[in-house]
Symmetry: C2
DNA sequence: AAGTGGTCTAGACCACTAG
DNA sequence: TAGTGGTCTAGACCACTTC
């Protein structure tokens, strides 16, 4: 499990002596560069903390502080007795970090229900002005536009329209998308090496359009919840723009303010 | 600024040797008990880290770890060179920790706009079933029901209906509520010693009711965003139940998933 | 200059996991 | 039993604030 010939590239192994920046931040940047650069596969095990610390010529306390922050940001996962791993996007933890629709009723957090995803359409297109702005690209650049219907307890509840760069996700096909084993974000990570770290969401209410009525089977002008999400990876780079239209007659969009203890 | 006769109560000063619980967690619980018990006023300064550490017979590293977590949970605030303080709810930081309505447009986080609050009605009432469930009390218990209209750039955008226990907030009057200097949460903290630490929110879409039309001046059945919030203090105790109805034609409800770096 | 929090170190010991 | 992360310590030095 341990890797010996680890920090070979001198420029990566060296912690730059940037002015005023705390050492543990520099160590953190170094670790991010290594992860980002594909130095470790997702789910891969990092060398032990003592090995990394001595490789980078910092104390173990400093190394631990850098890792602490990366764990907090869901980039790494620690498992006592086993090692430190690159966070994966294929487990419950990560699914529900980004899926926040819950059946109405119990205020206490109940067991989450997995949505069943059906792909409604998959097309290559050119970025609209909005899409380009959200993804930091130019209008007309090639994108994939993927429309999904999500069912909870057998009833259609969410209409997801997502847009991703066809350059970033070169080689993606409808078949690969539909046949994926796990979540979309796991596909991004496993097949394209892109790890979604966080997302910004903006919610608003809007009447159901004809398209929404058709896909979700609701009556025209029903008040729907519309969530616009931009998913971000390292360096705050936007990788996905998604509009979710939610039938909130029996479900809520759940948000948690501030940290829990 | 420094307090000398600090840890007088032996049972508070002693860190219980609970089985298996890390020392820094026990220190954290001790600090919470002291804050909760009004040992320090809000905005009050704590003794220096070295003083607390030696008082509790733990190393400074352990004390710092406990304080780190409390800072992360917005219970304490550190100021280098000055000291550690109990977090206050009267600054921008805390206002916008709980107010998440933003004008549409720029995706980049723009300067937040302060809402202008008008009290529409203030009444003593008996808790409905929903209110009682949200606040952990019995149906029929006395509550205050306070309705506010919030304006942004002079236009009514949000209709807030909040419900709090009349027992917890004994002595609150419409005058005191309206004449408050700062935010509602600052009033809770300053006048009643209740610190709101976090909140749970559930959002849904709904057509405008007659009451909403009257207060916000919108046409009937316009799709509105409805946010149900339960605000919590120490020990996960619910202290406020609030329903915000938002006109999202020109504003969004903004949510941040996962941590930012 | 004195006092505060912020960083960094070096090492000890414990708890968990695997072979 | 060996290796991993988790906790705890004791002390040094730095950066910031106040007097």
């Amino acid at each position: 499990m341990a890797v010996n010939n680890f920090f070979q590239e001198p420029e990566l192994a060296t912690v730059a002596d940037s002015a005023g920046v705390p050492l543990y931040r520099q160590v953190k940047r170094t670790l991010i560069r290594l992860i980002e650069g594909g130095r470790y596969a997702p789910a891969g095990c990092l060398p032990s903390e003592s090995v990394i610390a001595s490789s980078l010529h910092v104390s173990i306390g400093t190394l631990r502080r850098a890792v602490d922050e990366l764990v907090h940001e869901h980039v790494l996962v620690r498992r006592q007795g086993k090692g430190t791993f690159v966070a994966m996007h294929n487990n419950d933890r990560f699914l529900f970090q980004f899926f926040h629709v819950e059946k109405r009723g119990l205020e206490v957090t109940q067991a989450h229900e997995y949505p069943a995803v059906e792909c409604v359409s998959f097309e290559r297109a050119r970025a609209s002005e909005d899409e380009a702005a959200a993804l930091g690209m130019r209008t007309g650049d090639p994108v994939f536009r993927i429309y999904n219907r999500l069912k909870l307890s057998g009833r259609p509840v969410v209409f997801d329209r997502l847009c991703i760069s066809a350059l970033t996700f070169k080689g993606l096909t409808e078949k690969r998308f539909v046949d994926r084993q796990s979540t979309v974000y796991h596909l991004y990570q496993h097949d394209f090496g892109i790890t979604v770290l966080r997302a910004q969401e903006r919610a608003r209410a809007a009447g159901a359009t004809r398209e929404v009525c058709k896909v979700l089977g609701v009556q025209p002008d029903l008040a729907m919840l519309e969530v616009h999400r931009v998913a971000l990876t390292f360096g705050e780079k936007a990788v996905e723009y998604r509009i979710s239209t939610i039938d909130t007659r029996h479900h809520d969009y759940v948000s948690l303010l501030s940290k829990r203890s």
